[in-house]
Amino acid sequence: MLSRMAECLYWMARNMERAENTARLLDVSLQMSLLHAGSQDDLLVPLDVTGTTGDFLQRQAVPRASDVLHYLALDGETPGSIFNCIRRARENAHVVRVKMSTEMWEQINGTWLEAREWQQSGLDTHTASTFLDWVKQRSHLFRGISYGTMLRNDTFQFSRLGTFIERADNTARILNVKTKQIRDGEPQAENILDYYQWAALLRSVSAFEAFRDTYRDSITPERVAELLILRPDMPRSLRACLDEIDQVLSHIEGQAGRAARRLASEIQARLTYSSIEDIFSQGLEQSLDGLIEDITRLGQVIHHSYLEVV
């Protein structure tokens, strides 16, 4: 496949995944900010995870829920807004539409057309959850259609690669930001607030029910971290993402990706053979910082191996 095409497929999927992740984060943060009104910490979480806190605070001294919502959802000026993620996903798809099924293209183009309508009508606290649900569903549809209609060749693999690199990066970042937030927060009586914080984190990665099913026990940082870092059966855990990436890379044709495959296997092996005790003995924050670096490096090596036009 043309390197340029592979790059577009990869970024198309990353952008769709990023749109979904941002929608999840916003959804949970808005709910949390209702839970204890007056605190701005929860509103800052999605900004911290997407690395946009500085830019946002330059424009708005005081974060209000409606401003954060607009900034990350529909603002055409915010590079990482959901609107811009969808726009870029569609632009990438436009380049590679020859490579994808008709349904796939129609889905992405349709999502973009609807996103423009959302941008025109704007959001308020009443329509926000409808919009965020819509984003999640369009992302589910994107993956469902690619699974259901695409030939299992490199086109499919590069798109999957984008999805799981982005997802791994997102899970690690959310976990990292939340861990810091809870550490810096004031200790609460009986850790009631901590409970809500960890529950919110689980919800933002669709893991609340999974947690209940897996542990049938109270929510503790160790269990949450184990679920989201090490469990292979949790679809948004780092381990699950690395399992997928490892698989995908072994299916891509040719010998160009040896460096990428080696690095992915290394990270995957580390996650497979680590225990949560190891991670906590090293310090959860340090471990997460290390994992975020690993994933970033993996992204760079993938670019270098397949995507860059040399």
Partner: protein, 480 residues
Amino acid sequence: MHAIKPLDLSHYDEMLSQHGTRSAYRHFAHWLHQAPFDWLQHKQAEADALFRRVGITFAVYGDESGAERLIPFDTIPRIISASEWKTLEAGCIQRVSALNRFLHDIYHQQEILKAGIIPPEQILTNAGYQLAMQGIDLPRQVYAHIAGVDIIRHSDGGFYVLEDNLRTPSGVSYMLENRKMMMRLFPELFARYDITPVEHYPNLLLDTLRAVAPAEAGNPTVVVLTPGQYNSAYFEHAFLASQMGVELVEGQDLFVKHGHVYMRTTTGAQRVDVIYRRLDDDYLDPLVFNADSMLGVPGLMSVYRQGRVSVCNAVGTGVADDKSIYPYVPEMIRFYLGEEPILHNVPTWQLRKPDDLAYVLEHLAELVVKEVHGAGGYGMLVGPAASRAEIENYRARIVADPANFIAQPTLSLSTCPTFVEAGIAPRHIDLRPFVLSGKKVQLVAGGLTRVALRAGSLVVNSSQGGGTKDTWILQEETAC
């Protein structure tokens, strides 16, 4: 039931004659009369929604708001009888064969210039003439592998060729998509009519391209070269690449090494044998042509001149579809093929000739004047539709550089019933069949019918608000 506007006898109507409905349209007209108007409206809206969803769009230069616009699609087909098609087909094959012979000749022995049929300066100083092509032998001596011949029907009922498009003719994707749309909207019509299929065009195109690969390429790799997704015809480039199952590349994907052209892929460099380029000559190779071009491939021309890659259409075909060369095409047919032209040319005044110039300047209000190198309906004067000031402006431009213009009588393009806001009314149309030249010269039975949607307008170009119709070639002489 709804009324169809009465016939205007100043031009030929494809459906109605003085004696009633023409035979090719007999069954269709009956069907149309019976179809409830709001149902037809509903079908028209369905077509628009589908085209938008599929993203069959067209970028219009200089139009920010409509950066991606739909070409209006009209649901009423243009129908051509089997015998008329036979004439059109033979005429197109004859014409394109002669044009390819002409191109080979002027880039080799230049017999036609020696015979005094075309003044040499008309060729040698022509902007479309590429000195770099002189003496280069091309596979099968084909230059214009894909040609779009623009044809109109005059009030006398005869077909006339308006122009030959031999560089990068576009529109074939609409021919194919329009057919798909019609079959989806009105399956009952296809069950009743015996309409010649067009869907195999991409196969023929791929055969054509592979047939002109360099001899050394055993199993040739074909690519489509596009200027990129902001080009007005990008949809078509992507569509054709996908239909042929070949890569759609941009200049940045290709590079030249050790005398061959390669593309960059995820598994490394892969050799390319045939480039179906949808990029003008000037942008192909910054080392030879426009040095500022970021769209081309440095070194491509040197590989091409050594015969190690084929470029389709060939470099330098522009000299044959120039409007100043157009008047000589009938002579080319006689000279190279020893045949009489099957399709007429439109009478053309060449303003570089003093007599022609004098006549045209006196009759500007009646004539259509075009720039010699113009395309897409830009920069032309339609005398009868122009204001006095527009005519005077244009006159000044002509006087400043007469050789840059030709003039033709205002043709009465035929009309075809068309779905408009007020109902169904006649609108002017033309026809562009696509002629493929590889192992042999052939075309699928069909073409792109363009329609001027404004009442009375003669400008059918999509860049000027024209629309398109499906074009039906009947297999049997009379509709079943």
